[in-house]
Amino acid sequence: MNIILTSALSGILFMFSGFVLKNKRHQSLLAAFLLVVMIISGFVQLNGYEVLAGKYSNMLETNTYSVLFFIVLCMIGVYYVLVNRNEFSRPGKLVSDYMALIFFSFTGIAVIASFNNLILLFIGIEILSIPLYALAGSAKNKMKSTEAAVKYFLMGAFSTGLMLMGLTLIYGASGSFEMKHIIDYSFDFQSIYYLGWVLLILSLCFKVSVAPMHFWAPDVYEGTPTVFSSFMITIVKGGGFLAFISVLASFKITSEFVGDNYRYLLSFIIILTLILGNFSAMKQRSVKRMLAYSSVVQAGFMMFALFAINEESQRALLFYTVSYGLSSIVLFYVLTQTTNLNHKAFNGLSKSSPLLAAVTSIALFSLAGIPFTSGFLAKFFVLSSAMAEPSNLVLVIAALVLAVVSVFYYIKVIMAMYFRKSNNKRKIRLSKMTQFLLILGSALNIALGVYPDLLWNFLALFIK
């Protein structure tokens, strides 16, 4: 409950902060501060001090993993608001409103992190999504932004419909929304029950943008102002996966009948995602759109963690989220600094800003899964967690071969930065603080890639 309260209160606070804080940078600092408060409240909750504990008739539950996931997303959020602190005013003047929307999204994630009842899952996902529809359309005078908002909203409504139908069917079969009753469900209405799950899984696929429900992602991520697509691609996607993995924990994916069918479904989703995502990304001229498709591909890799829900896969998913978040935030920040979004804008970046070129390379190598960056271990972990089932080897090989395609379009950007010359002699100037943050992010990326236990050891410091 702590995390829900603090994040919701922060959102409300921000709705009115515009009256007091006129300086836009102070808004970001306040946001970072409030995120830290949320992190602390999360740790407090984990250590057993929960506000109103036991007063919500089993609707909410403190699950260590989920709360940790939320905390980690907040940490990524701190990095996100600090790095982008000057960018929030780009889409429009209403910085405090944008911040409020971002914090309401966090509230949604907080609900997802604590739900013990499918109704609350639904509410959490809605709270997470609705602010995003507004954020997508925040650049009001840009056609593409409006288009993104409308598209996202319509598609989101569609997937909400799917989810509701799924939940209803599950309810109809098991007679309850409570997770523990669904787990103990006796198999009387099998077909309805499983159909419900398939619909639920598909609608969650929509939220994390994997095929066959990914088609909205490139347009929306491209049209949304870059600052906010950075948020959607990292933190929101993390929230989506949190919902995914916690809801699947109550689905008997190890049982005989479900096991195989579930595995086929997941394999189909993954392969389709990787093929469509990779080959579409390869053809893009715009780097932002390429990154949008690449986020589809990365989500496809994260799906590997869902083959078996156990400690390993949970750790792998969390690690992947952190790694992907660190890389993407840096990349999207770089996109706000280049003249336009095409590959050409990256030509000669190593000359006009060696630092940006270096951090971009590290982030891209991380996405490509090259060792010494955390991206490699992230891929290694998720693929490993899927290997409990030996026949997944074919899938793993296919995924890695398709990952070679992704290496191709990632290094295209590196090639432009280092090997091609640009006519544009403009030097890009960055403030000391930004330089420090970019270096910090890349250093963390490498540190996690060399010593992955860093993350667990750090989190363990704060838990009794």
Partner: protein, 468 residues
């Protein structure tokens, strides 16, 4: 800790150098580091060293399988470390003597590669090995791309990167399968062997590794990335690629493929005919092409194919010869490339048709280059002779057809090496200066050192055999 110095020292200095601005070339830092490491590895290998040959630190644990940072310089790995530091030492002495040859970043990246190579040769943990295997790729990618030949570099580099990453990712799939399906206690070599040897049929798994290694060596038909890359990249980079990175593949075949899958060479022996065909094919291309870099590149493919065939016989003699040749080829090819680089700078040599008579104006390089070319065709008294003799010997008792292929390769090798030296050193004087060229003292030291090693090992091969 001292063993990891072989990795940390070049890494730290390398990263440091990349950050230094271009004003003053600090090639001497690289020279100092590599001389120090050469002496250090000599000391480690040839004395009763108190530091020890092995070191293991815990790294991380995932899914009940431990990964360790485990290093060792025993056996073939130690020889390769020695070769690496020797090649680097000579390379740095040669290039830091040339004024304004390359900026600091270049030398920095070279040193980072040094660290990665040492890591590959010393790693005793499968995951750590994979780590270093890939890390070598990154500085290489920049080295080829930024300082390569204008026209070719981007396509050549992309092909190179995609090819090697494809191989590595296949190997990664294999590693994941071993780690999380066969479930060894840890990724340490000894633990992994336990599970792979007790598990039944693992040919497909072995194939994943083999493809990765074959791409690095490179073996026919996976070699097509190599000639354009050799041609496009700056000479120091080409040297690292051909003298050291190709050895990574061969080394991995010995140290990982053969130990993890002891039966692999019996079950995939048909493969050797393809490799043998590749040997003859590469030799023929070397014989017919006119670009010097291309000739050396294809000669390298041919020689390494022979080494691979000999390794695959798994006979005592074949392995011994192959190990020896791996060291020897590194030294000889270093000499060839440096001599080429010198002639390229002084006499604008790129194509054998357009130039001739270098011996008339520059007798010193003519002597050295002739010597290296003769070493390359495995003349007795040079180190390659010992290796090649043992290898062909092993192939003869293994399979006569393969032996004939190897012999054809040896004959063709003589043909293209002689063609090379006659065309550029002798013959009519063409496109070169009239004045005699002065050969500096450093150059005498560099080329003398390489020739000395070739001769020494040709006469007294026990030096290397004792290390194995």
């Amino acid at each position: 800790m001292l063993l990891s110095l072989l990795i940390l020292l070049p890494l730290v200095f390398g990263l440091g150098l990349t950050l230094v601005k271009h004003n003053k070339t600090l090639g001497f830092v690289g020279t100092a580091v590599s001389i120090y490491l050469f002496i250090f590895s000599l000391f480690l290998l040839f004395t009763d060293n108190p530091i020890g040959y092995e070191k293991t630190y815990p790294w991380f644990n995932f899914g009940g399988v431990d990964a360790y940072i485990s290093l060792s310089i025993k056996g073939l790995g130690g020889t390769m470390v020695l070769l690496t530091s020797f090649v680097y030492m000579v390379l740095f002495i040669y290039f830091s003597n040339i004024k304004k040859a390359y900026p600091n970043t270049f030398y920095g990246l070279l040193l980072v590669t040094f660290a990665g190579l040492n890591g590959v040769f010393m790693a005793q943990d499968l995951l750590l090995f994979y780590f270093f295997w890939e890390i070598v790729l990154i500085p290489m990618y920049y080295l080829i791309g930024i300082w390569g030949m204008k026209r070719l570099r981007i396509t050549a580099n992309t092909t190179f990167f995609i090819y090697t990453v494809l191989g590595s990712f296949l190997m990664l799939a294999g590693i994941i399968f071993i780690g999380f399906h066969l479930k060894p206690e840890s990724f340490l070599l000894e633990d992994v062997i336990k599970v792979t040897s007790s598990y039944g049929n693992l040919h497909l798994l072995a194939l994943l590794f083999l493809i990765a290694f074959a791409i690095k060596i490179p073996l026919f038909p996976l070699h097509s990335w190599q000639p354009p890359v050799y041609k496009a990249s700056a000479t120091p980079v080409t040297i690292i690629l051909s003298a050291l990175m190709a050895k990574m593949g061969l080394f991995a075949v010995v140290n990982w493929l053969f130990t993890l899958f002891p039966n692999i060479s019996e079950n995939t022996d048909k493969l050797l005919y393809v490799v043998g065909f590749g040997l003859v094919y590469a030799s023929l291309i070397a014989l017919t092409s006119n670009n010097v870099k291309k000739i050396i590149a294809f000669s390298s493919i041919a020689h390494l194919a022979l080494v691979f065939m000999s390794l695959y016989t798994q006979s005592e003699i074949g392995l011994k010869g192959a190990y020896f040749q791996m060291f020897s080829h590194g030294v000889v090819v270093l000499g060839m490339w440096l001599a080429y680089d010198y002639m390229h700078r002084k006499h604008n040599l790129t194509d054998i048709k357009s130039i001739g008579g270098i011996a008339l104006v520059d007798p010193a390089i003519a002597v050295f280059f002739t010597f290296f070319a003769l070493a390359n065709l495995a003349l007795p008294l040079t180190s390659s002779f010992i290796g090649e003799f043992l290898m062909i010997n092993a192939l003869f008792s293994y399979n006569i057809v393969l032996c004939i292929m190897a012999c054809i390769g040896a004959i063709l090798s003589a043909a293209y090496n002689l063609r090379l030296i006659t065309a550029i050193l002798f013959g009519k004087r063409e496109n070169i200066t009239d004045k005699k060229v002065k050969f500096s003292r450093t150059l005498y030291i560099v080329f003398g050192l390489i020739s000395f090693v070739i001769l020494l090992l040709g006469v007294y091969p026990t030096l290397i055999f004792d290390l194995l």
